[in-house]
Symmetry: C2
Subunit: 240 residues, 2 copies
């Protein structure tokens, strides 16, 4: 198995992922929110790029069957039911509902890799389950951190590095790493013992603190609280 990770969230060449398992990571906070929502019983998630699309999409489904969630500049969007703090996504709000979600970085990332075959939703919440699923699928792996407004994201890469570390240690077959995946693994080995501290070093983590979302940092740093593996297929995220 070859494991690669792309450090800048630009559209990757399709040859990099069309035959590979893709794991999309946006720890602060889109993929954390997605995993949380599905673990609390959301039926499916439709990630959309714009606020406009979210409202359009909402009209397609019966009232009461959907939840509108997401953020711009970290904050809940006017007219939306929920923001982008994973802790808002509790069973009493999301169980049995479709979630239409739009965020600054994470939802775009799914569209960049949408032609891939197996696209998994990764976060610290389900990192062990994601590693297990990647080992089962036993194909080359392409990790896609969603980045921070087009830039390299420290926290997403630490999570990608943890996935590499887990697969390298648990997998029974030889693993080949690219220069980038070696770098991500080293970053995890250095910062993984204190993930909240890694968040505090990151640009996006600092921004969330400044905007009043410091609690989300501790919330998103929790490891292996669920074993669900959400998959993105045909525009929709469902549990595998």
């Amino acid at each position: 198995m070859l494991i690669d990770i792309q450090f800048l969230p630009s559209p990757p060449h399709s040859y990099l992922f069309s035959d590979r398992v893709v794991v999309v990571i946006d720890i602060l906070r889109a993929t954390s929110t997605m995993v949380q929502a599905m673990s609390q019983g959301a039926l499916e998630i439709i990630p959309v790029a714009t606020v406009e699309e979210a409202f359009q999409m909402a009209k397609v489904f019966p009232r009461g069957s959907i939840i509108l969630g997401g953020e711009r500049e970290s904050k809940r969007i006017q007219g939306f039911d929920l923001g982008n703090s994973p802790k808002e996504y509790v069973a009493e709000k999301v169980k049995g509902k479709k979630l239409i979600l739009t965020t600054t970085n994470g939802t775009k990332a799914f569209h960049f890799v949408s032609s891939g075959k197996d696209i998994l939703v990764g976060s610290f919440f389900n990192i062990g389950a994601i590693a297990k699923r990647c080992i089962e699928l036993d194909r080359d792996l392409f990790i896609f951190p969603s980045g921070d407004e087009g830039n390299f994201s420290l926290e997403d890469t630490v999570c990608g590095g943890m996935l590499i570390e887990l697969i390298t240690k648990k997998g029974k077959k030889p693993i080949a790493l690219t220069d980038a995946s070696q770098c991500a693994q080293i970053l995890y080995q250095r910062l993984g013992a204190n993930i909240i501290e890694a968040f505090r070093l990151s640009h996006h983590g600092k921004e969330l603190i400044n905007r009043g979302f410091e609690e989300d940092l501790a919330y998103c740093a929790r490891i292996d609280i669920t074993d669900i593996v959400p998959e993105f297929k045909d525009g929709v995220i469902r549990i595998h």
Copy 2:
């Protein structure tokens, strides 16, 4: 001073470097070769993107005043005087000459950032001098690793991380680091004690070994063997 580093060798947005000091790094081997050639008395270096351009450019200057150097697939180009092993660039061959150089990654990188104001040529050979110059210039810094055929390059990033480490430790003013520059610094702190080993972990290092250039790895890992600071301006590299 803000220090940023771009991990993928795509053309950066001009706002990232137009007012900043730019340091281009292609350790294996273009910028190592450039620094070596200038330290051995080459008058100037003209980096060109294609072999064709190199031959065209050679016609412009009197015979005997120029040297054609470079590689494709790591090897010397037919009709060229020298390849891309820095150790070929000794005084008896290059002193008083103009060097026209074309390589796979490094020469392209200069053209990506050519509209920048101060563009410095960095390598382990002159890393201390580069750090000193960056501290003197006292402006924001944009480090541009040339990458490995469009991909993230471990060895260039280790060198970029060393530059960040030196400036952070020697500079007297507060330094701000982006997520990417923090990552590069961590990579250097982990791999910098044995640079040849870092080369051996890298894709490009392995490729050079396979192609018979293993000696270049030890050669390019030598730190602070010169204090020259070549600068790229108006298409030409000269010593500051």
